[in-house]
């Protein structure tokens, strides 16, 4: 009986971890023209290692009537104001937050890289 409960608990945890992992994914759109702004320091260990990346990781409080949300590309980290790439990441916790708040809390995870100035 005890063995069955342990097995059940493990299965639930494993299933939860599995769904957490598979429900976390990112999609990136990249320009085929222009060059990305290089970073001052190469610190990352991913696609952004040789790019100056701006990250937005926030939870928006939206009204029930709010449809779309606009983020403006600010000068800080993006002097050209032109985008080279944008990545949107969907996470399990973000999806849960949206569902259980009936859309009033929206998790936003964005990364963008701007174009290098051409001088």
């Amino acid at each position: 009986m005890q063995l069955t409960s342990k097995f059940l608990l493990r299965s639930i945890i494993l299933t939860f971890v599995f769904f957490t992992m598979i429900s976390c994914y990112s999609v990136r759109i990249v320009s085929t023209k222009g060059s990305p702004m290089p970073p001052l320091e190469m610190e990352g260990d991913d696609w952004y290692r040789d790019k100056m990346v701006v990250e937005i990781d926030t939870v928006l409080k939206a009204g029930t009537l709010t449809d779309d949300v606009i983020f403006r590309v600010l000068r800080d980290g993006c002097e050209t104001g032109k985008l080279f790439s944008v990545e949107y990441k969907n996470t399990f916790s973000g999806s849960m937050k949206y569902i259980f708040s009936f859309g009033s809390k929206r998790k936003v995870k964005l990364k963008y890289v701007c174009m290098k100035p051409s001088n």
């Binding site: 290089p38 001052l40 190469m42």
Partner: protein, 534 residues
Amino acid sequence: MATTTIFEKQEWDTLHKNGPFPLKRMYVTRLEGRASIPSSTDRYNDAAVEIQRIIKDCADQNEGFRAYGSRWSMSSIAHQKDNVHQNNLMNLDLNIFPQDLHALSSYNAGNLFFFECGNTIKEISQKLEEHGKSLKTTGASNGQTIAGCISTGVHGSALNVGSVQDYIVGLNIITGPSPADNVYLERHTKPGLTNAFAEKINAKVIRNDELFNAALVGLGSFGFIHGIVLEAEDLYLLKRYVRKINKNLAMKLSNTMDFKNSEFKIAGETDSQGNPLTPYHFKVFINPYTDDSEYVVEAMYKKPYQLPYPDPFTTIEKSIYKDLIYLLISISEKFPNSIPWFIKRLEKSVLPNVNEETIGTLYETFWDAAYQGPAFAMSIGVDHSDSEKALNILTKMTKKDGPIPGIFAMRFVKQSEATLAFTKFPITCMIEIDGIIWSGSNKLISMEEYSTRMLEVLKNNNIPFTIHWGKISDWAFPDLATHMFGNKVEQWKALRGSLLSKKMQQVFSNKFLDTLKLSDIQEDSDPDLIASLL
């Protein structure tokens, strides 16, 4: 005025994490805005003054100084323990007009372009495309800066073109802190621009083949390359084919480069007699751990630029989980025998798809290579007639002393005139091994041991070789530079010692040069060596 930000540092690393290396300071220079200095030439000259100010600071402190662009080199060639300068924001281009052409120049003014050091291959290609022009060749990707490319000998596999440095017409080099330490070099047998143009960038003209060829692949040690003049050509398309062909045929083509009389025939790529054409580019991929009777090869043929053509970019690109790769490497370090199995499984991700056909410009064909985690690349140059023999020796050694987590390829490059170009053979076959950085264990040969073994087996088998300056190798291998380049080493050092003062020879040296015994101070400079001969 151009502004430089100084970062106090402890260490510095390459893009592919081949370090870290110790460092005191990193400089990043940004040009003055166009609103303050509208003229590009004035902004260029303003940047030169700023670079000379930094060089003076370094020299005053008896410290070294070295410029780098995109950190793509995996060797320590771009590193200097005291001061490094990131120049990838110095990306101006200056107009060249027909009146700027030297009276004895054989170049078409419309094909000559002046770029500042920090322009990447990608930026240059895009700027050239606006003029209906293209580079003649690039490396396999486009992120390197132009100064970095030529200093390290970046190459593709353009059989009749050569490497990036081989279409350079002029070099503007800052050789020291004084206003007079600014030279514009060209070949005296192939002049490009007028003295008046050089005066516009405050540079003294030296037209001298030997000096130009030595400075061309200068390993970052001939001064600060501030700008270059390159010869472009009309925009063209590359039709790319991937095929699996008989191993013996691939080797015969590599050894002879005789495509015309070969059985390697692609429909539509034949002459009027039906004989196969020599491709613009040829590359052979080899998995050293399989005994396949066929190799994957990639061939490209040059076509006139004409619209429309299908978009060569694939809409969707997927990448493997990096963590999975790291896991495979960890397993490999404990169980080396699993490496061939892993490589076979990853073949689909590493090798191009067989029977793939695309068409696009050079820029579109050799596009972005995204960072995919710590990587190693070793690259050995041999005469193409030795390619099969060298490949067999290296793969045999890899199987015996390895395995290692890498895959082989061969590319072929026309001879360069640069004194220390590793593409020194009439046609150089670059045998490359690309893979993921690994650590040695009591069961697995280390990367350092493996790179030494590569040189040992080639030397023991009397195969003359060179090494790509920007790749990983055992740079401390005894008398390596002399073994590769013979008396050209002394010639290169003498020319460097004549162009640079003793102080500047020290400033523009680094450990990489010391290891190769290329940095010893030349006490007696010979002004005749750097005389302008035209």
